[in-house]
């Protein structure tokens, strides 16, 4: 039972590619692999901490004001991440920009607090957070790999093929929507072949 809490977020209920949650950061910061990994780790950290706190406090939070309570919990951890990035990773903070404070309104984090952590034990919630965080990071990394390789001709800052002329459109906003659309389609196609309806 416990392993399923962890693994379901990676493929079966992948927050981005299957549930279509948390799309804004996936599209906005996937123009380079470094940004994608940074964003994935930051969101996973916040998700991990908020799931822990919400599942610990689930008996104490009155159900009528639970959403504001969850938001405050999430926002406090986001401020931690903001201050840490500003102090130790200024370059990453600069390129993620607006999307660091916007982790607060990432639907995945509030969604997991509401749908999972408020109903399950601490250990299950932590595993769920790790799995969902990993699924989010993998979707981000997949999008970023395609975009950086095609749009800039590099991966993690290293040139792939010196002779290739990069297609600039892929690192501009339209490339993000296009990549995610085809990635979602491919994901569904593979899943459809594995479990025919």
């Amino acid at each position: 039972m416990k392993t399923k809490d962890f693994t379901k977020g990676i493929v079966q209920e992948n927050p981005v590619l299957v549930l279509a949650l948390g799309l804004c950061p996936v599209l906005a910061v996937s123009n380079s692999l470094k940004n994608a990994v940074g964003m994935g780790l930051a969101a996973t950290f916040v998700l991990f901490c908020s799931n822990f706190l919400v599942s610990t406090l689930k008996g104490l939070i009155p159900s009528k004001i639970r959403i504001p309570c969850y938001i405050v919990v999430i926002a406090s951890f986001v401020v931690l991440v903001e201050l840490y990035l500003g102090a130790y990773q200024p370059a990453l903070n600069e390129s993620l920009g607006l999307f660091v404070p916007l982790i607060v309104v990432n639907c995945i984090i509030l969604g997991r607090a509401e749908a999972f952590a408020s109903r399950n034990g601490i250990l299950s919630s932590l595993l769920d957070a790790l799995g969902m965080g990993l699924g989010f990071t993998l979707a981000l990394v997949a999008t970023a790999t395609v975009r950086e390789a095609l749009g800039n001709g590099t991966l993690w800052g290293k040139t792939l093929l010196p002779a290739m002329r990069p297609a600039l459109i892929m690192i501009l906003p339209p490339g993000a929507l296009l990549t995610l659309g085809f990635l979602m389609g491919t994901f569904r196609w593979i899943q459809g072949r594995r479990h025919p309806l």
Binding site: C24, A28, I71, V105, C107, G181, G185
Partner: protein, 206 residues
């Protein structure tokens, strides 16, 4: 005159050039979730415009009169999200009491707006762009308000265009694995490419 020019550039910038949905990627969850029918797209767009305008005004006051004097600007994210959440509640209650017909039109969309990243996004963008300079001034307030309204209009425009496309897409022979969201993303990519044609309407540094 220069003030009017600046306001015009901010408005055009937020509606067309840096459209909140298609260029900045803010508010994509409602954009993809509620754009299946034109009626609901319009309702959502209007509700977001309303809340964005109010949020721009209120967060400006919170920033200038609460966070800056007490040197609490690092708590901006927490303060803003709380202000927006209570604002949405307040707006919902007021609309329910004063205009039941508007409430039935906007009703179900209002609670969703709390977690709409476009609203928090516009508040943070305002703070980064207009409030970094020293001291509170009426000009900053005016600019923030303009950006709030224009961002909402840009969001509504993108929603409406998208809902028209999606109503047609439903009747098209789309490959099975691309049906629904994936093909909507591809359509949005083409729209975003078209919106890139507006680049250059606003001069650099405005």
């Amino acid at each position: 005159m220069t003030l009017l020019r600046q306001i015009g550039f901010i408005a055009i910038g937020a509606i067309l050039v840096n459209n909140f949905v298609l260029h900045r990627f803010l508010g994509l969850c409602p954009y993809m979730g509620v754009s299946k029918r034109t009626q609901s797209a319009l309702g959502m767009g209007l509700a977001v415009t309303f809340v964005m305008t109010m949020a721009s005004a209120v967060t400006w006051m919170v920033y200038e009169y609460l966070l800056v004097p007490y040197q609490l600007t690092f708590l901006r994210t927490v303060a803003y999200i709380l202000v927006i959440a209570s604002l949405v509640q307040l707006v919902e209650m007021i609309v329910q009491k004063t205009s039941p017909s508007l409430h039935t039109a906007l009703g179900i969309y209002l609670p969703l707006i709390t977690t709409n990243c476009a609203v928090l996004g516009v508040a943070i963008l305002n703070a980064d762009r207009f409030l970094a300079s020293e001291g509170a001034s009426g000009r900053d307030f005016l600019f923030s308000l303009t950006q709030g309204i224009s961002a909402g209009i840009g969001f509504t425009l993108a929603m409406l265009l998208m809902s028209g496309i999606r109503e047609r897409l439903e009747r098209m022979p789309v490959p099975k694995s691309l049906k629904g969201l994936p093909v909507a993303f591809i359509a949005a990519a083409l729209m975003s490419m078209a919106f890139m044609g507006f680049t250059g309407l606003v001069p650099e540094g405005q």
